[in-house]
């Protein structure tokens, strides 16, 4: 393994395969150009290699920088998943209507339960309307611009917490399950936020807006 290959291996650690390939191509091209210049200036091939490699700097520092701007393996997997999910919903327009209708029916039933003096049932149904509506119904509306989706993302967490609190009433047993749910959703959102920072907005798949 040459010194350049060792450098590249360190610099591309953790990156997804597409990003690693891109980095390798760019750095190899850069290295060859620097090497050619050094050779023209009278350096021996060994000196030219050494100078070209030294100019690249520390591979670990470059890796830190690359991990901040290019997709990691985990992010690439998440991106594939959200693309697949988006495709699933796009191909099934009936689901969109079902989600909207479902939210209306839940809200109607919750209101009816409240009117018929069944507050506990009404509370759970209102919670279901809020939670399911936020996750499934709101995304069926045209919120796929950066500004609108930002509002959705900020609103999602308080609404979900309210729904959880509402569903569990005065009992605080729900806090543990809420924390687990928050950790799972939070991690997913964290990875998606990182992808959003790394991809130009015109390359975002639909589900990445959420």
């Amino acid at each position: 393994m040459t010194d350049l290959q060792i450098w590249l291996k360190r610099a591309t650690r953790g990156l997804c395969s597409d990003a690693a390939t891109q980095v390798r191509r760019e750095i190899e091209d850069h290295y060859m150009a620097a090497r050619d210049v050094a050779l023209k200036q009278g350096a021996t091939p060994a000196q030219a290699d050494q100078q070209a490699l030294a100019a690249l700097g520390d591979a670990t520092a470059a890796n830190d920088d690359y991990l901040c701007v290019l997709l990691t393996k985990e992010e690439a997997k998440m991106l594939r998943d959200v693309k697949r999910d988006g495709q699933f919903f796009r191909c099934r327009p009936a689901l969109v209507h079902a989600f909207r209708l479902g939210a209306c029916m839940l809200l109607g039933t919750a209101t009816a339960a409240y009117a018929m003096d069944a507050p506990n049932l009404a509370r759970i149904l209102f919670a279901a309307t809020l939670g399911l509506g936020m996750i499934f119904t709101v995304p069926t509306f045209p919120i796929y611009t950066q500004a609108r989706s930002r509002v959705y993302r900020y609103a999602k967490w308080p609404v979900m917490l309210t729904a959880m609190g509402l569903a569990n009433g005065r009992s605080f047993d729900w806090l543990a399950s809420a924390l687990i749910a928050l950790a799972i959703f939070g991690w997913t959102d964290w990875v998606c936020a990182s992808i959003r920072q790394k991809l130009p907005a015109d390359q975002w798949p639909m589900m990445l807006y959420l």
């Binding site: 980095v23 750095i27 850069h30 060859m32 690249l56 700097g57 591979a59 520092a61 701007v69 130009p200």
Partner: protein
């Protein structure tokens, strides 16, 4: 001199007059600063990718001397950002000069 914080602006400036590839951008920055501004060339590409994600530069691949090479080009948003950065830099530079008492 460490230029990491200002590297994106220097890259945009290097691309102001036309598309270029990474190596040439690095050399242009070093040459224009007469060797004062030094940076490790491995950090150039992450900065370029970040600028691309922000829509300030675009890139496309072309074949040059039988080798695939990625060319970067400044966008309209990139030019606007460069203008802002330049104005900000002049302000900061003037302020620092005043503080150091060299004005």
């Amino acid at each position: 001199m460490n230029i990491k914080g200002t590297l994106p602006t220097l890259i945009l400036k290097a691309l102001e007059h036309g598309p270029s590839h990474g190596y040439r951008i690095a050399q242009r920055i070093k040459d224009r600063s007469e060797g004062v501004l030094q940076f490790k060339e491995g950090t150039l590409y992450p900065a370029l990718h970040k600028l691309e994600a922000e829509g300030l530069v675009t890139s496309k691949e072309a074949i040059e001397n039988g080798r695939p090479r990625r060319y970067y080009e400044i966008t309209k948003a990139g030019k606007a950002s460069l203008t802002r950065d330049r104005a900000e830099w002049r302000q900061v530079s003037r302020a620092v000069t005043m503080i150091l008492g060299e004005a």
